[in-house]
């Protein structure tokens, strides 16, 4: 078996809560791996810890326990060596945050290529044009500034910047959420292309399950800092074994079907991380909850009849919903 590109083993990220002054675990003993040229989706509601996890993988959050390694080497605690920073790049929801408003696209790309990659001015110019082509932008945009471009174009430029140093892994945090539907599809497909053509792996964080289903090979569902279900995308979406995954799927509005009573949808908000319920964290919103759920925290395991590698953290994951009372 080959070493995964990125491997988290029981990784946790803790913060001190401002209001209550207690420690909260935003990411709680998460094990997840991303292999080379693989696209892994991470879904969950706001506050589920998916962004904290993303930031951990690029060194913006510190690991408080467990381990996180890249190519088998633990991620360093302090300042990352240049080589590692080149290998893992992040793409944000708002491309403005990674673009310099005063510089043209060409200047921003060449600067990175000259300083970080060590290309000459002429080489950097040529490579910048290639990178724009890679993200399907016309070469004319080399002279454009961010505000002269559309949201979709800016996100493509942000991706081109992330590609300058030839990364092995892109960590993309809601990269298409701020885009118009008509251009969103193009950026989704671009991630698929980059994987195919450059072999880049992607950790794709999104609240949009439909987008994840169209793009990702595997998906992990997060709830209150933990992964509650994980498996190949097709499996998790067609045979969800955790009631939270089913609730998320039921809540998505559909274009093709008229309104139905969203009986499968959960009510209310997730409880605060500072006041975790005993046992299963989902039990207060769960339609299946029983006394056992308050007493015993469910572990991730392969449910009966599920495909290999498909795991869920629910005491009742062996039973599909149509078989449940």
């Amino acid at each position: 078996m080959t070493t995964p590109l990125l491997e988290l083993d029981q990784a946790s990220v803790t913060f001190r809560s401002r209001r209550r002054g207690v420690q909260v675990r935003a990411v709680d003993r998460v094990s997840l791996s991303v292999n080379s040229a693989e696209i892994v989706g991470l879904v969950g509601e706001s506050g589920s810890g998916k962004s904290s996890l993303a930031r951990l993988t690029v060194g913006l959050n510190r690991l408080s326990s467990g381990s996180a390694s890249f190519n088998g080497v633990p991620l360093p605690v302090g300042r990352w060596p240049g080589e590692l920073r080149q290998q893992i790049q992040m793409v944000f929801q708002d491309p403005y945050s990674s673009l310099n408003p005063r510089m043209t696209v060409g200047q921003q790309l060449s600067e990175l290529l000259r300083i970080r990659v060590g290309l000459s001015r002429a080489e950097a110019g040529k490579r910048s044009a290639q990178l724009l082509d890679q993200v399907h932008l016309p070469a004319e945009l080399l002279d454009a500034r961010p505000r002269q471009m559309s949201g979709g174009q800016r996100q493509r430029v942000a991706i081109a910047k992330a590609l300058t140093q030839g990364p092995d892994l892109l960590v993309a945090d809601e990269p298409v959420s701020a885009l118009d539907v008509s251009v969103q599809a193009g950026v989704i497909k671009l991630f698929g292309e980059l994987r195919r053509e450059l072999g880049v792996a992607v950790l794709f964080i999104s609240h949009d399950l439909a987008v994840v289903r169209h793009l990702c090979d595997r998906v992990a569902v997060m709830y209150m800092g933990q992964i509650v279900e994980h498996g190949s995308t097709g499996e998790v979406f067609s045979d969800p074994r955790h009631p939270y995954t089913r609730a998320l799927l039921a809540a998505i509005p559909r274009v093709t079907t008229a309104r139905t009573e969203t009986s499968g949808a959960v009510k209310g908000d997730p409880p605060s991380l500072t006041r975790l319920p005993s046992g299963c964290r989902f039990r207060l919103r769960c339609p299946l909850a029983q006394t056992r759920c308050a007493e015993e925290e469910p572990e991730l395991r392969e449910p009966t009849g599920a495909a290999a590698g498909h795991v869920a953290a629910c005491h009742f994951s062996d039973v599909r919903p149509e078989q449940q009372p």
């Binding site: 399907h136 969103q184 497909k189 439909a210 609730a247 559909r254 274009v255």
Partner: protein, 346 residues
């Protein structure tokens, strides 16, 4: 469910030929270009468009809440018999208070930062409905519960800044509903929310529509939300309505290539067989709208005839209208992705 398109008589809201100009650097540009639409009693109408289409400006012009630099350049807005355009702010406030509420994408713009959120809801119900404090309080609590707000008593005694974004949004919607408006104007109120919360709010709005015959004009970019909530849809592009009709028919068989493109671009969580379609290019800015059909540079069915002339809405069936001159070119193409697509330069 479907109604004839021209049944605007006795509508609660009638917008005719509404135009809005935005001025920047002393140069005016027409952002909303002669919009005509109506909302019937108890009817929910979706106004769909992408950024820059003019959908939010249309909604704000109806209420006289245009941002600085934007002004109504023509047309009329008749609500319940009153023309709202050109009214003074006092008259507008009276009309708004008694019949129209609006919910925004940004809740902080609508909530008073120095009044507890529960008091804001209670005040709205007392002022508009003449209710007593206790009655208004019960009503507020009930609305908060229906919004899926856990621990409503505790949440309502907080100030807006103390609430999380999702909670604040729900409180704003509850405050807008507290005065039992005849017409609710919605500007992407659930876009920033989690799907689980969005589902609860859509369910609540649908119930209010049915039980209280509340009318809604719902602005969004999300076709699926429109499908859940609205009976009719108006699709906007570059300041104009380019397609309208009953939701079910329009989404099943769109008659404008832009609507078709939007449907194909929307990922379907239940079906991954259809490949996603990216509409080439991006929506034009207010100052760079093309001549002829505004969609022609991005349209895969366009021909030279589309590059000049007028493209007014016209009926293609008893219930559907389109601004496309060649709707037969997309006939029968429902939601199947085209063979060649690139998404270049979007």
């Amino acid at each position: 469910m479907s109604q004839p398109v021209d049944r605007s008589e006795g509508a609660l809201l009638e917008v005719s030929g509404l135009s809005v100009t935005v001025t920047a650097d002393g140069r005016p540009a027409r952002a909303v270009d002669g919009i005509t639409l109506h909302v019937g009693h108890g009817e929910a109408v979706g106004l769909v468009g992408e950024s820059g289409s003019g959908k939010s400006l249309t909604l704000r012009a109806i209420l006289g809440l245009l941002p600085p630099g934007a002004a109504v350049a023509g047309g009329s807005v008749i609500f319940d018999g009153y023309d709202l355009v050109g009214q003074g702010s006092r008259a507008l406030r009276r009309i708004r208070g008694t019949g129209i509420s609006m919910v925004f994408q940004e809740p902080m713009t609508a909530l008073n930062p120095v009044v507890k959120v529960g008091d804001q809801m209670v005040d709205a119900a007392r002022k508009r409905l003449g209710w007593g404090r206790a009655e208004a309080r019960d009503h507020a609590l009930q609305l908060a519960k229906q919004m899926g707000i856990t621990e409503p008593e505790a949440s309502l005694s907080l100030y807006p800044h103390e609430l999380s974004g999702g909670l604040r949004q729900r409180v704003m919607i509850a405050a807008a509903l507290a005065s039992r408006p005849k017409l609710l104007l919605c500007d992407e109120p659930t876009t920033a929310l989690d799907v689980t919360i969005q589902a609860q709010i859509i369910e609540l709005l649908a119930r209010l529509r049915d039980e209280l015959a509340m009318s809604m004009l719902y602005v969004t970019h999300d076709l699926a939300v429109v499908a859940q909530l609205c009976t009719r849809v108006e699709v906007m592009y570059a300041g104009r309505i380019i397609e309208r009709g009953p939701v079910t028919e329009t989404f099943a068989a769109p008659s404008h290539p832009y609507t078709l493109g939007l449907l194909r671009a929307t990922p379907d969580v239940d079906d991954v067989r259809a490949e996603l379609y990216a509409i080439p290019g991006s929506a034009p800015g207010v100052r760079s709208r093309p001549a002829g059909c505004p969609f022609h540079p991005r349209c895969q069915f366009a021909s030279t005839e589309c590059e000049s002339g007028d493209f007014p809405l016209r009926a293609v069936s008893r219930t559907q209208e389109t601004a496309c001159a060649f709707p037969e070119r997309i006939e029968g193409r429902a939601r199947v992705a085209p063979d060649a697509e690139t998404g270049v330069g979007t």
